[in-house]
C-alpha cells in the first residue's frame, strides 16, 4: 500500500493537499512557501483535483477568503511564511475566535528586518497566542503526516479550531529526502468529507457570524475557545493513534529520543531536532547520558507533560529558534520553565537562542551545549542564560 518516493517538504505538503482535495484554497506567494500554491495550481490545471483556487492579492485576503469559504461550509486552507503570516495576524484571531477549522501550511521563515528569507521560528512564535493549533515537523515525512492529520484534529466537534502545520523554510521545505506516502484512497477515507453543523450556505437555515459582542458575553466566548484548545490535546493524540494504525508511524505531543536514562536533555523543535539526535548518538557512543525532547505540538502547549518528561534529568537546554526581545529569553524558554516551576520540578534549565535567520546549527553546537550543561551541574558553574549559539565573534 505504502509508496516510496523522494520529495521536498513543500512537495510533500502539496501532495497531501492533492490527496485531500480540499474545497477552497486562497493563497498569495511568499518565499519559501510559494511552491505549495504553485503545485496545487498545477494539480488543478492538470485536472488531478478540483479544488477552487483563489489567487488573492495579499495574505490578509487569503486568510479572509479562507474564513469566508470555511464559514460558507467549505473545507479551506492556505499556505504562507514570514511576513505573510504577520500580515494575516488579525485574521488568524478572527479564524480562531469564529471557530473555523481552516488549515494553514506554514513554512517557517524569519521576519524582517533586515529582510532575510531563511528559517527561524519568529513567524510561528509571533502567532503563538492567536488561538491556532500549531504542530511542527522535523522533516518532510512529518510535514506530510502532520498535514494529513490536520483536518481530523481541527474539525473535531470538541475542537473546531484552525490548525497550522509548520515546517522549517528551505531546510525542510526545499531539501529533497526519501518519503513514504499513503495511497490517495487511504488519505481520503482518513480525512473524510467536511460536514459542518452550521454554515452560511445551509438552505433554509441562515446563520450569522462575526457579531459585535458586549462585555457581558465576550468573555464566555474566549473561555469556550480556551476549553477547545485544551480539548485539542486529547484529540491530537486520538488522531495520532488512528494515523499510527493506518501508516505505522506514531506521533505524540512530543518525541523523546534516548531520554529514558538521560541526565542531560535538549528540548528542541523543528528540523534542528535531527541535528540534535545525531549529536546525541555520537555522545552516547562516548558514554554520555544525553537525549532529545523534540516538541511536536506547540499549541496547545503540553507544559505538564514536558515537565514530567524532564523530571528525571539533571539539566535541560531549551532551544529557541526565535528571539522575543523581552530581555527574558525565547518563547519556549519562558513556557517550559513556567511548566517546570508549576510542577515543582527543580532542575538546571538553560535557554539558548540558535539558528536565527538561517544561521547554521551543527552537531558541534550540540556537543558544546551538552558540555556546558554537564559543567553547570558537575562543577556548579553558573551558565549564561539566553546565549546566542554560533554568533560571529
Amino acid at each position: 500500500m505504502a509508496k516510496k518516493d523522494r520529495m521536498s517538504g513543500n512537495e510533500a505538503v502539496a501532495y497531501a493537499i492533492r490527496q485531500i482535495n480540499p474545497d477552497v484554497m486562497p493563497a498569495f506567494p511568499i518565499t519559501p512557501s510559494t511552491e505549495i500554491p504553485q503545485m496545487v495550481s498545477t494539480y488543478i490545471a492538470n485536472g488531478e483535483i478540483d479544488t477552487e483556487f483563489i489567487p488573492v492579492e495579499s495574505e490578509h485576503s487569503s486568510m479572509s477568503a479562507a474564513i469566508g469559504a470555511e464559514a460558507a461550509g467549505a473545507r479551506s486552507l492556505t499556505a504562507t511564511s514570514s511576513c505573510g503570516l504577520a500580515l494575516m495576524w488579525e485574521e488568524l484571531l478572527v479564524a480562531a475566535s469564529n471557530r473555523m477549522p481552516v488549515a494553514l501550511a506554514l513554512v517557517n521563515r524569519t521576519l524582517s528586518g533586515p529582510i532575510n528569507i531563511n528559517c527561524d521560528h519568529t513567524d510561528g512564535m509571533g502567532a503563538r497566542d492567536t488561538g491556532w493549533i500549531q504542530i511542527y515537523a522535523e522533516n518532510n515525512q512529518e510535514a506530510y503526516d502532520n498535514f494529513i492529520q490536520a483536518y481530523p484534529i481541527a474539525e473535531h466537534k470538541d475542537v473546531h479550531l484552525p490548525i497550522m502545520i509548520c515546517q522549517d523554510g528551505f531546510i525542510t521545505s526545499h531539501a529533497v529526502e526519501n518519503i513514504t506516502l499513503l495511497e490517495d484512497e487511504q488519505v481520503r477515507e482518513f480525512v473524510g468529507t467536511y460536514e459542518p453543523e452550521e454554515y452560511l450556505l445551509n438552505p433554509g437555515k441562515p446563520m450569522a457570524l462575526g457579531p459585535y459582542s458586549i462585555s457581558a458575553y465576550a468573555m464566555e466566548a474566549r473561555k469556550n475557545q480556551e476549553i477547545a484548545m485544551e480539548n485539542a490535546k486529547g484529540v491530537i493524540l486520538e488522531v495520532a493513534d488512528k494515523f499510527r494504525a493506518l501508516s505505522g508511524r506514531g506521533f505524540g505531543l512530543f518525541e523523546e529520543y534516548r531520554t529514558e536514562d538521560a541526565d542531560f536533555i535538549m528540548l528542541i523543535m523543528g528540523s534542528a531536532a535531527g541535528t540534535a539526535k545525531q549529536a546525541v548518538d555520537d555522545l552516547r557512543k562516548k558514554g554520555k547520558k544525553v537525549g532529545v525532547l523534540k516538541l511536536r505540538v506547540f499549541r496547545p502547549f503540553p507544559a505538564t507533560e514536558i515537565a514530567k518528561a524532564l523530571s528525571g534529568c539533571k539539566a535541560v537546554a531549551i532551544m529557541d529558534r526565535c528571539e522575543s526581545y523581552n530581555g527574558n529569553g525565547g518563547p519556549l524558554g519562558s513556557e517550559v520553565m513556567a511548566g517546570l516551576y508549576r510542577e515543582k520540578i527543580v532542575i538546571e534549565a538553560v535557554n539558548y537562542i540558535y539558528g536565527l535567520a538561517g544561521r547554521d546549527f551543527t552537531v558541534d553546537h550540540v556537543y558544546e551545549i551538552f558540555e556546558e550543561l554537564e559543567k553547570a551541574v558537575g562543577e556548579g558553574k553558573t551558565v549564561e542564560q539566553f546565549r546566542y549559539i554560533g554568533l560571529r565573534e
Binding site: 474545497d23 477552497v24 486562497p26 478540483d50 479544488t51 477552487e52 483563489i54 489567487p55 488573492v56 492579492e57 495579499s58 490578509h60 485576503s61 487569503s62 479572509s64 477568503a65 479562507a66 474564513i67 469566508g68 469559504a69 470555511e70 464559514a71 460558507a72 461550509g73 467549505a74 479551506s76 488579525e90 485574521e91 478572527v94 468529507t193 452560511l200 450556505l201 445551509n202 438552505p203 441562515p206 446563520m207 450569522a208 457570524l209 462575526g210 457579531p211 459585535y212 459582542s213 458586549i214 458575553y217
Partner: protein, 314 residues
Amino acid sequence: MNSYNLKEVMNKPERLAPGHRMCAGCGATIAVRGVLRALHEGDRAVIGNATGCLEVSSYMYPYTAWEDSYIHNAFENAGATLSGVETAYKALKKRGRLSEKENFKFITFGGDGGTYDIGFQSLSGAMERGHDMVYVCYDNGAYMNTGIQRSSATPRYADTTTTPVGKESNGKMQSRKDLSAIIADHDVPYVGQTTLTRDFKDLHRKAEKAIYTEGACFLNVMTPCPRGWRYETDEIMEICRLAVETCYWPLFEVEHGKWTLSYEPKKKLPIEDFLSKQGRFKHLFKKGNEELLVAFQEEVDRRWEDLQYKCARA
C-alpha cells in the same frame, strides 16, 4: 427587469428586520433595505459586512437584524471575505453538496472607510478576480462609526474631527476620490452610482441589475449621516435630492464599459443649495469665504462635465 411599482416593492418582506440600533435619519439602513428588496422572491443571499456602524448596530450578540445568512469578518476585508463565500458556493455546487435548484446571491456592504480606504485593496482584488457578487458602498463621506473622521470620500471643505474647521483651517483640503470611476476602470460588468430618491426606483433598478448581472458588480450609494453631516433627521430625502439636482452626486451606471447618465437635472442647481443644509459646511457661508464656494462649484462643474463626456461617447 419588470416594470417598477413603488407600492409593490415596498410591500416585499423586509430582509433587514427592525430593532437594529442605527440612528434615526441614517441613510445606510434605508439603502440596505432598498438593495435587499431587489432580490427576487425565493432567492437566498449571503450578506457580507465590513466593520462599521451598520455592522455593530445590526448584529449585536445575541441578536441579529439580518434575515439572510450574514458574515462580518473585519474592517478592511469585506471584498476578500465574500470572495471566499462565493467560491465556496461554486465548490459545494460542483461537488453536489448543495442542490442545483438552490440559488444564492452574494451582497456585501461597507461604509466609505471600509471601501474607499482601508478595504480598497481587498475590494479591488475581488472586483478584478470577477467573483459573482455585489459590493455595495454606503458612502456617508467620513468614518462615522469612530466619530466623523475624514476619509478619501469626504468632500473638500467638510468639517470633520480630523479636519476640524478653525482659525487656520477651512476643513478638508483635498478633493473626494471618485471610487465609482475607479471600480469601473476595473472593467467589471456593472457599476452603478445612486442615492435615495423619492420613488427609490433608481436604487431598486441598479441593485437588481447589480445582483442579477453575472460577475463582480459595484454599487456606490450616497447615504447621508445626520451626525456627521449635521442635519435634522427628517431632511435626509431633501438632502439626497439636492445632491442629485446640484450634480454633486450624479446618478449614472457603467455597463461593460459603457457609461450612461441615469438622470439629468433640467436646471442644475447651485451647489450652495446642497451645502447650506448641512452643518459640516456652515463655515463656507461666513463672510470672507466666498471664494471657497466658488472653488467647490468649479470642482462640481468640472466633474459633471467629465461625466457627461464619458456618457456621450458612443
